[in-house]
């Protein structure tokens, strides 16, 4: 890429919680995060991926950027990209374009096409395994269905995990990190459903489908690190976070008392973060073992129908900070809110679940 690194950071303190928020992008174009799973962040938390609409049109091209968590080093990595994952060693970013898998040095430089698969109109890279061997993504077929693909970076080969008529970006989960999690309607090669739509955990080979028994999920969920459990948000009137593992008979309430909307987890599974809506009472940091939560900050995202008005929080793998998107300026930009150690300690010590700070 020809553009140099730049810095667009703006410090914005949350007037209600005092959180020291850093706005990472500020040029008036639409920016957003690559996903809520954390696979777009280096394991040390120092660098992350984000997207930009390259021009102010609804049909704009989408370009992939990286930026450091201190707001420095904002750099265009790839034009016309879809999805983004950082390699386990932090050296590369992987993304999709057309039917291709593309690799770009995270420090910038020439991109490399690792695979080009015919018969696909779009490639969306969404997950990595823990040891850095496999990448996962959804490749959209010309007939409108999707193939969930697994790329073996050791030999460059692509494997079809399964086909689906509907699939949300797949995640890697499980206590051993060897299963795939998705909201998915799997279909056979002839296009007929293999099972009902739902939240499914399945092997890297597309076998051993096990249901996650969420009966009132809003389709926002995340696998908990170091565990088989999955957490989801349940909308009004439940106003809760629920947790379940593949094969469980029913989900259990983890926390209740706020309109939890989108959920993300750190690598250890100790911490969760959720934005809230109806009413927006702020971005909540949730302690998984106790279910206690506190307001970290207020995103000021509009929370309307368009995706660009949703905060879509993402927790750093080391739980040092939360990333979110906000259209508070009229343009969706990416923000970072550090998590104070004192807040974590307060939640660890809390005996009872707590209500969030009410909006002013």
């Amino acid at each position: 890429m020809t553009r140099p690194e730049t810095i667009e950071r703006i410090r914005r303190d949350d007037p209600r919680t005092g959180a020291a928020i850093l706005q990472l992008t500020s040029f008036p174009l639409t920016h957003w995060l690559v996903g809520c799973s954390g696979d777009g962040i280096t394991l040390d938390g120092k660098t992350l991926l984000l997207f930009e609409n390259s021009d102010p049109t609804r049909s704009s091209r989408r370009d992939l950027y990286r930026v450091n968590s201190d707001g420095s080093g904002l750099l265009l990595l790839a034009r016309n990209a879809s999805g983004g994952v950082v390699s386990v060693d932090g050296r590369f970013a992987y993304t999709g374009r057309g039917g291709s898998l593309v690799r770009i040095p995270l420090g910038g430089g020439d991109e490399e096409e690792l695979a080009r698969l015919p018969g696909y109109t779009q490639a969306h890279v969404s997950a990595r395994d823990r040891i850095g061997r496999f990448l996962f993504g959804q490749w959209r077929r010309e007939d409108g269905t999707f193939d969930v693909l697994r790329f073996d970076l050791s030999d460059g080969r692509a494997y079809q995990v399964c086909r689906a008529s509907y699939v949300m970006p797949v995640q890697v989960h499980g206590v051993n990190g060897d299963r795939v999690l998705a909201s998915i309607l799997p279909v056979g090669h002839e296009g007929k459903p293999r099972m009902t739509w739902g939240y499914w955990s399945f092997s890297f080979d597309g076998e051993d489908f096990r249901p996650i028994p969420f009966s009132r999920s809003n389709n926002h969920y995340v696998g908990l690190g170091g565990s088989d459990e999955v957490v989801t948000c349940t909308p009004h009137p439940a106003r809760a976070l629920e947790v379940a593992a593949p094969g469980d008979s029913q989900a259990r309430v983890l926390a209740t008392g706020a309109g939890f909307w989108h959920v993300a987890a750190d690598a250890s599974g100790e911490w969760l973060v959720c934005d809230t809506n109806w009413a927006d009472v702020g971005l909540q940091l949730v302690h998984r073992p106790t279910g206690c939560f506190r307001t970290l900050c207020h995103t000021a995202a509009s929370g309307g129908h368009p995706q660009w008005t949703h905060a879509h929080p993402c927790l750093a793998p080391n739980a040092d900070y939360v990333l979110f998107t906000s259209d508070r300026t009229g343009y969706a930009q990416v923000y970072l809110c550090p998590i104070p150690d004192a807040l974590k300690e307060e939640l660890r010590q809390a005996a009872q679940p707590s209500r969030p700070v009410p909006p002013v």
Binding site: E8, R11, S26, F27, P28, D55, G330, Y331
Partner: protein, 340 residues
């Protein structure tokens, strides 16, 4: 084609009338805290506008009246510029060229061109209307200060240096810049129209934001590291003295008389301050809403009009940088003058 994009606003905290001069959602910004880009009668000013909404967009030169009327594209792809002392012309840089454009009219004329230079910033002009002092930049990044004679069309190279910033007229017949002069150390200097006679100003903690204090011969700067002050000095002084203190003054600007200073503030932003130079008394004129972050487009960069009737500033309060104008009332001035 001329247009009008003005939006009337009233500062909710100070009640001051603020006129937003540009509002189409593309980044706009004025020509910084000093320079000769406001017409002598203060009725017209020139500013920049992105042509497209992308980071590497071409930037065009526009003019607008101080009442928000007659917003007009002046020159495409033009750089920093100065209005002639008779108020008839705009002199602007473009690549290695110097352009002349009527302030109120159409058409442009290339007065000078050199392939030696990648950029040309025309920020200073002599008060007799004869000379321009363009700051030229070589493709490799070296800086050259030029003197262009408008009566003969000849261009002289005054000096070449590794560092040159903020070249401006120091009334009546010297220049002011932060520079590494030939054979001297870096500093903020005044110097002659021949590129000689360098006199270093004794600023020890300048933010590198400074301006001539009107026609007084003095120079003001804001100070870094929590100094929360505006300092003043003049060539030949041994040290600077504090002119005003108590706010995080950031970018200072002076009117032509040197009686009034405008400065934005940061860490924290306590408003755009109007400062009475002689007494050091100040009050917030308005709040810019500028984010005050790392990007230049988030800085207010206030510039007070030569007649001290208004302050021009930038603000990204709408998410996009635009140019605003805050009017200064006689009542506020009277309030700040000593004895009130």
């Amino acid at each position: 084609m001329a247009t009008i994009e003005r939006i009337e606003r009233v500062d909710p905290k100070t009640g001051v009338r603020v006129l937003q001069l540009t509002s189409f959602p593309l980044p706009h910004y004025h020509q910084y805290c000093y320079g000769q880009w406001i017409s002598p009668d203060c009725k017209t000013l020139i500013l920049f506008g992105y042509r497209e909404l992308r980071r590497d967009s071409p930037v065009d030169l526009w003019r607008v009246n101080s009442d928000g009327s007659d917003l007009t594209l002046v020159a495409q792809g033009a750089s920093w510029s100065a209005i002639s002392v008779d108020g008839k012309w705009i002199y602007a840089g473009r690549g290695g060229s110097i352009l002349r454009v009527p302030l109120h009219g159409e058409g442009e004329e290339e007065l000078f061109r050199s392939d030696e230079y990648a950029a040309m910033l025309v920020g200073a002009a002599s008060l007799d209307g004869r000379h321009l002092f363009p700051h030229a930049v070589r493709p490799g990044g070296k800086h050259v200060l030029l003197r262009f004679d408008l009566s003969t069309g000849t261009c002289e190279r005054l000096f070449e240096t590794s560092s040159l910033m903020h070249v401006q007229l120091h009334y009546p017949d010297r220049l002011l810049a932060s520079v590494v002069p030939p054979g001297l150390e870096y500093g903020i200097y005044t110097f002659g129209f021949n590129g000689d006679g360098f006199e270093k100003l004794p600023f020890m903690r300048s933010t590198n934001h400074y301006a001539s204090l009107g026609h007084t011969g003095k120079v003001i700067t804001t100070v870094h590291s929590g100094g929360k002050a505006i300092e003043v000095t003049k060539p030949g002084d041994k040290e600077a003295t504090i002119l005003a203190q108590g706010e995080g003054f950031w970018h200072p600007s002076s009117d032509a008389s040197g009686e009034w200073i405008a400065s934005d503030t940061n860490w924290p932003d306590t408003g755009l301050m109007l400062v009475h130079a002689a007494s050091g008394r100040y009050r917030p004129l308005c709040f810019t809403g500028a984010s005050g972050g790392h990007p230049q487009w988030s800085h207010a960069h206030p510039r007070i009009a030569p007649d001290a009737s208004y302050v021009v500033f930038d603000s990204d309060q709408t998410g996009v940088s635009h140019v605003y104008l805050a009017f200064i009332s006689h009542e506020l001035k009277d309030h700040l003058r000593p004895g009130r």
